[in-house]
Amino acid sequence: MKLKQLESLLGSIQQFDHPKIELEQYPTGPHIASRLLYTAENSFGDLSDKVVADFGCGCGTLGLAAGLLGAEHVTGFDIDQESIEIATSNADELDLDIDFVQCDIRNITLSDRHIDTVVMNPPFGTRKKGADMEFLSVALKVASRAVYSLHKTSTRAHIKRTALREYNASSAEVLCELRFDVPQLYKFHKKKEVDVAVDLWRFVPTSNQGKHL
């Protein structure tokens, strides 16, 4: 599938009706999502024939994109039932068979053998400090191949240090810097659009093959 085609398909999916501020529910725009997943597949082969998990999947954009690019199995995880309902209907719309689990990523017990690749657009931790790092910590525990994630560029040094030293990543690389257009979803946004600089990261977990549940 061509990048343009992926972006256009992702542009057609339904986003949050009533975004919840405490969960930092920002939709992942089709521009960013398509580039993230396209890179994962075409530069690294991390999607096709793989088991992919989408952490904090919201309306499902990243997980659906992984499915469109040939992931064999996708499970989306989110705490919010309404989001999962929208994600389910988005999957139906695109004729994709994707599983969803309602849970809090911070206290879920997942196998560290099944999942090849985690894709996520975590809460940036603007409202609740460190939320994105909690997601990253879990992702690096369960993925056996790669973790793709978006984090604010202003936190780049901290993320690299923490991933390598504390979360045992064997590599942490910024693939590109993107502008994340956060439309005026919430009352505390004074400007019409808030343009945030965001890094697209690829982390490689230290091999965890052979560990058991």
Binding site: D49, D99, V101, Q102, I108, T109, R113, H114
Partner: protein, 122 residues
């Protein structure tokens, strides 16, 4: 929910030490056909908790998986078909996942398990 997802989940209640596998209570199951990918199955074979997959598929009414397996069986198309069907085509649609240690039920509605914990379980 496919049994592949079931195979990666454990009970996450605080203090539970053997939360795998989650027992399945089934009110409704569905089958959805997907294309077989032999390379994927060969790769997954080493990762799947086989016994849990056999039990789960039996609960959903599918009894064709052998209890004992070895990698050489991956050469058999018949075995691959059965493995594929159990792992990817059987879906728990309505029912519950049950913590094997505490008996706590995690409801499954429209194929989506609710693994959210109560305050005193975190």
């Amino acid at each position: 929910m496919r049994l592949l997802t079931h195979n990666m989940l454990s009970s996450n209640i605080k203090g539970v030490t053997s939360g795998f596998p989650l027992r399945i209570e089934v009110e409704k199951m569905v089958e959805k056909e997907v294309e077989l990918n032999a390379d994927f199955l060969r790769n997954m074979f080493a990762k799947v908790e086989w016994k849990a997959l056999v039990e789960a598929s039996k609960t959903l009414g599918y009894t064709e998986l052998p209890d004992n397996v070895e990698p050489s069986m991956l050469d058999s198309d018949e075995f691959l078909n059965r493995f594929h069907h159990a792992l990817l085509e059987l879906h728990l649609e309505e029912g519950a996942l049950v913590c094997p240690e505490t008996g706590r039920k995690f409801p499954v509605n429209k194929g989506i398990p609710n693994m959210l914990l109560h305050e005193d379980e975190v």
